[in-house]
Subunit: 449 residues, 2 copies
């Protein structure tokens, strides 16, 4: 512990962040806003451990994503892993606690997740996810309840416009079967991966990829892309084109009807709570294998290349990994740290303005009185800081200024004796003098108006 | 993913908890209350990673505590570890960010920590700590600012009385030097460990332990214990006895003067914000080696054997592990999960009462209208849930009941056509009929009064 010891270099692991106070205030504020909106919509918050048995977490995404999982043997020789998302742990939670949960169960979970992936701007190895899910029912309204709550949450933040693009795995499969009769599972996976690249590589290149799939031709691939990329006047995928393309495929048409219901309600939500757009976009496929219905991604209008800040979809079979019970689910995740990185890039993460009062302590004998005044102000809901070491008022004023405090009360022997105080506005230089203790609170109200 | 696959047993790691909604609501509420009180007192929240380089974390407590640290090699071959407290990462944070922090820096941090220790009731391998610290100054008022903020936070919870016992390492060393002239570092450590056991094994047994220390005799040990255990009328250690015992030891007497200042202000705080007691208790030594001044522990009055729910103290040399700069600090930690376990044991963790409204959807054609009504209620700050699948209103009523919703609105074809609604109180059976949309909000106000 002595200063002669060899120093340890103070450094973080690559891809891991310290959160400074201004950012943390916004981050905690966002979390509080998410909790409030989720509660208003009947979602209930749960928590699960950061560490799980490795077998619980692994084998759900690709080999690629398994490689990113932080895993090790604990002191008891158990193979454990840090969660890489909140969805798989939630499936474990539901399976383990199914006896006490009331289904359909609407869940909120806010927590950090860890992925040992390559770091890049806005991508970290530790980041916070905020997940909303409804489990135990497969219905359009469950889909809507998740999507609309996330939409409303995002409207509450000053994002400068966002777009929620909805796709649908069942519809996409129906389109693929229509386009490439006889397509198998491997072909479907390859097609989803190809379609997911439309934004990046363009329709022409995707058609070339699709044409390589068993049962596909360049012509059938191109006609599928015409259908998927046909837009209506809102800028979303044209459902009339989808309907005629799917003609005769009853299950596909039924899922299209469900998507129309979802879109109608979400359009009404978007009309009543302005801040974002909602669109059907059949090119949204999502990487993860477990989706079985609606999927969505959300992008910031001001940062087209930044990637998704919120995504998710319906997963009807996740709990079946653990138990013989069908518990269909739908969920969405807000990437809080991605969102903050996006806001930073948009120049929307400024310093938080302080309205804190500073109590300078001029003399040792004023310390108790100053502490008592701080207690009175704080109990009245006024944030205040206080000089740590009595004396040297000039230093305390400088410190108050660096903290962003505009209003300063100085306590010395005479203030303690008279029980009256002066409140100085450091910006205007104006000083309210001879205030009684509670008069400070009155004066603060007028200063802050 | 198919249901024919071998099932994975859904299970948590030993010592790790799932947080169910009722507990989580209290837990998140406590965290919000801590954030508010900390902000009012000028503390600013930061965040640090869960994972740190192992060398940053290890070697700070005992070998015993190092053994409890979860550590492993990451994908890049780095030796990493999960944080076991928030104090050592904070020292790293301060050292790494000293160029941008304004000192004295008042810090709040709320986060999970991990210890692979033996599990027992109220002790987990993953638990949440809420830490308040002031770094960059060594003064009585800094000590008070941490202690008083934690005291006020604890008063805000319904703990049924708590006691904050303050000790002091400098004072204790001065007493030991007086009692056992010539005592060395090893002797002092042994003495601190022995004194920490007074509550468990009693003064007589502690005297026997102390007498074994180099330079000590049974007589000098007994006279030290008389001094340490002398109580004044408040039930705290008698400072007059300490003063006469320390006669001639100037640094010891100066530290006693500082403790008197701290105690005087904390007594005033305790008098103005009732909920707990504050006492000097010279037998509080605290296990960790890094403390260099005031130390404290807090116990629930209703659970004498439960252990500490909040503890901490002054540590003047922690940052020196990393940099050649003196940044003295003082801090306290609230063990949120310990606190919740204590409240559970006290029978104070009841179910959270719901005032949520339920919207039952009788017919498919009422779904859009029901979703719109839900949006209106939520935008007005009324929590509401909605039937997931139109039809079967009886099932939806049962679900509303299981959720604890007393008030139900049912929407069917006729409600949509007339745009008027009935609000039924399921407990009283009374139904307000023919309400216009906004009339529901009015009616809710009267139902909730």
């Amino acid at each position: 512990m002595s200063s002669n010891h060899k120093k340890i270099e103070p450094r973080r692991l690559k891809g891991f962040q310290d959160y400074m106070p201004d950012v943390m205030e916004i981050r905690s504020g966002f979390q509080a806003a998410i909790r409030l909106q989720a509660k208003l919509a009947g979602f209930r918050e749960i928590g699960t451990p950061a560490l799980e048995f490795a077998e619980t977490l692994l084998g759900q995404g690709s080999d690629e994503s398994d490689k990113q999982v932080y895993r090790f043997e604990d002191q008891g020789g158990r193979k454990v892993a840090l969660r890489f998302d909140l969805t798989i742990p939630f499936a474990r939670f539901v399976a383990e606690n199914q006896g006490v949960l009331v289904f359909p169960f609407k869940r909120l979970q806010i927590g950090d997740v860890w992925r040992g992936e390559n770091t890049q701007k806005g991508r970290y190895r530790e980041f916070c996810q905020c997940d909303l899910d409804i489990i135990g029912v497969d219905s359009a309204n469950a889909d809507v309840e998740v999507l609309s709550c996330i939409y409303r949450i995002l409207c509450g933040f000053d994002l400068g416009g966002f777009t929620m693009r909805l796709g649908n795995r069942v519809l996409l499969s129906a389109l693929l079967v229509k386009a490439f009769p006889g397509i198998d599972g491997a072909g479907e996976t390859a097609a989803l991966i190809a379609l997911d690249k439309i934004d990046k590589i363009g329709g022409e290149a995707v058609a070339q990829l699709l044409a390589k799939i068993h049962c596909a031709t360049l012509d059938s691939a191109k006609s599928l892309l015409v259908c998927v990329q046909a837009k209506d006047s809102s800028g979303g995928t044209d459902t009339a084109v989808l309907e005629s393309y799917l003609s005769g495929n009853e299950s596909g048409l039924a899922e299209l009807q469900r998507m129309k219901t979802i879109l109608a309600i979400m359009s009404a939500v978007a009309a009543s709570a302005i801040g974002g757009k909602v669109r059907l976009d059949m090119s949204i496929a999502r990487g993860l294998a477990y989706y079985t219905g609606v999927v969505y991604e959300t992008t910031l209008d001001g940062l087209p290349g930044f990637g998704s800040i919120s995504s998710g979809g319906r997963y009807n079979n996740l709990v079946e990994r653990f138990v013989n019970r069908s518990l269909p689910g739908v969920g969405g995740s807000i990437g809080l740290d991605r969102l903050l990185a996006g806001l930073d890039e948009l120049g929307k993460l400024g310093a938080v303005k302080s309205d804190m009062v500073f109590i300078a302590v001029a003399t040792e004998d004023a310390l108790e009185s100053a502490a008592s005044l701080a207690g009175v102000l704080r109990a009245a809901g006024v944030a205040c800081d206080i000089g740590m070491t009595p004396g040297k008022v000039g230093n305390q004023f400088k410190h108050a200024d660096r903290l962003g405090c505009q209003l300063v009360v100085t306590l010395g022997t005479s203030e303690v004796q008279t029980d009256t105080y002066n409140l100085k506005n450091m910006k205007t230089g104006v000083e309210a003098r001879g205030l009684p203790r509670l008069g400070i609170l009155e004066q603060l109200k007028s200063e802050n108006n």
